[in-house]
């Protein structure tokens, strides 16, 4: 591992109307580490995640990824970064309902310009790796919640991103399915060397992380990075 953090949030501030979502929030993510963002509902953890991923722009402060200032990039540059370097897992509604599972997984590759056949082959490999190789031809509405979430994990990892952002990935699942998803997810992330930013309010899910950062009232209390 390098001595440089991969992704840095520096004194981010962001308001939604009257509400302070982020109030001087700072966070460092090192390559390959798994960080749990914890904190009560409405504390700003999802907002922080969206800022780190370049989905939301903070009002002040900066986010840098691999030495590049994300906040100074254009929308299309950030989109390109999200396509190539980042992966995403959300709680609900993230799979495109009209595409089959394998097409959903292949989507990031195809968005980055890969051919259909090649993308589908890679996607099928990933589905098998997450133990959902048999649902490839089904649509998301036809698979169970746990299977759908594993398809989503496969989609997040298929383009071998350096950072995966996961927002309550097990939020809609029971404990057994949640455990399975986390186990497969974290194992695959460690295999590919991806860093994971994991927003969760569940301690058992956070226990899959290397360290946690607590967000409260838009501020981050970050645990020291232990090398």
């Amino acid at each position: 591992m390098t001595d440089q953090p991969l992704l840095v949030a520096d004194s981010l501030r962001l308001n939604f109307g009257e509400t302070k979502a982020l109030d001087d929030a700072s966070l460092h993510i090192w390559p390959g580490e798994i960080v749990a963002l914890m904190g009560p509902s409405g504390s700003g953890k999802s907002t922080l995640l969206h800022c780190l991923a370049g989905i939301l722009q903070p009002e002040s402060g900066r986010v840098s990824y691999d030495g590049r200032d994300l906040t100074a990039m254009s929308d299309s540059e950030r989109s390109a970064l999200r396509r190539g370097e980042f992966g995403f897992v959300f709680q609900f509604g993230q799979l495109v309902p009209e595409l089959t599972c394998v097409e959903n997984v292949a989507l990031p590759l195809r968005l980055s310009g890969a051919g259909r056949r090649e993308a589908h082959r890679t996607a099928t490999d990933w589905l098998e790796r997450l133990e959902v190789g048999d649902v490839g031809a089904k649509r998301p509405g036809q698979v169970s919640g746990g299977q759908g979430q594993r398809v989503a994990v496969a989609r997040a990892l298929v383009s071998r991103p350096r950072v995966v952002f996961a927002d309550e990935p097990t939020g809609a699942l029971d404990s057994l399915n949640g455990e399975l998803v986390m186990k497969l997810f974290i194992a695959a992330a460690r295999d590919t060397g991806a860093a994971v930013v994991l927003v969760t309010h569940e301690a058992r899910v956070a226990a899959y992380s290397d360290r946690e950062a607590v967000v409260r009232d838009g501020r981050v209390r970050e645990q020291e990075y232990a090398r």
Binding site: K183, A203, Y208, E212, V214
Partner: protein, 173 residues
């Protein structure tokens, strides 16, 4: 163990008589287990011996007229105790509650108590998770039992943290 720190902590806001101390303890932490007088006096005697409290006598007679005050060493001890996360184990409720309330009563940052405890819990939970994922089914079941209990504690902690403001308003006179 936690009773002596609780009594010590209650003295931080000013000297009290033994009877007064018992009443305050019962109000704040006692619930279904109120202290015996004897417990208060024996604890005070031990603390006196260790130099954590001192006695201010008042005119009058009888043991009731003794007023206890905390010493500097006592304050340091309380601070150290509150700040030290408990070893994560099931049913920490009473001790953690005592710590949180004392922190609020004595104007310390209760959130820090919670954060420190959470960090400690998570450290153990990570270890259990690792053991669970590397081990066999028996390991998995045993570890999960512990994990669920620890998680319950943490949830309670989160809940407490969310309610700290209300708690502060209630315990602080």
């Amino acid at each position: 163990m936690s009773v002596s720190f609780a009594l010590l902590g209650l003295l931080e806001n000013g000297p009290r008589h033994g009877y007064d101390l018992k009443r305050t303890y019962d109000d704040t932490f006692g619930r279904d287990r109120s202290l015996h007088y004897g417990q208060v006096y024996s604890t005070m005697a031990r603390l006196l011996k260790n130099g954590l409290v001192e006695v201010e006598s008042e005119p009058g007679d009888g043991p009731d007229r003794k007023r206890y005050a905390i010493t500097h060493a006592g304050i340091t001890d309380v601070a150290e105790w509150i700040g030290r996360p408990e070893k994560p184990e099931p049913y920490l409720q009473s001790t953690l509650y005592t710590k949180v309330v004392l922190a609020l009563l004595t104007g310390r940052d209760a959130n820090e108590v919670l954060d420190a405890q959470r960090a400690e819990h998570l450290r153990l939970m990570r270890e259990l998770t690792r053991r669970k994922n590397d081990g066999d089914l028996a390991d998995e079941l045993i570890c999960d039992h512990a994990l669920f209990h620890l998680e319950a504690d943490l949830r309670w902690l989160e809940l407490t943290a969310a309610r700290l403001d209300r708690l502060a308003a209630r315990v602080r006179p």
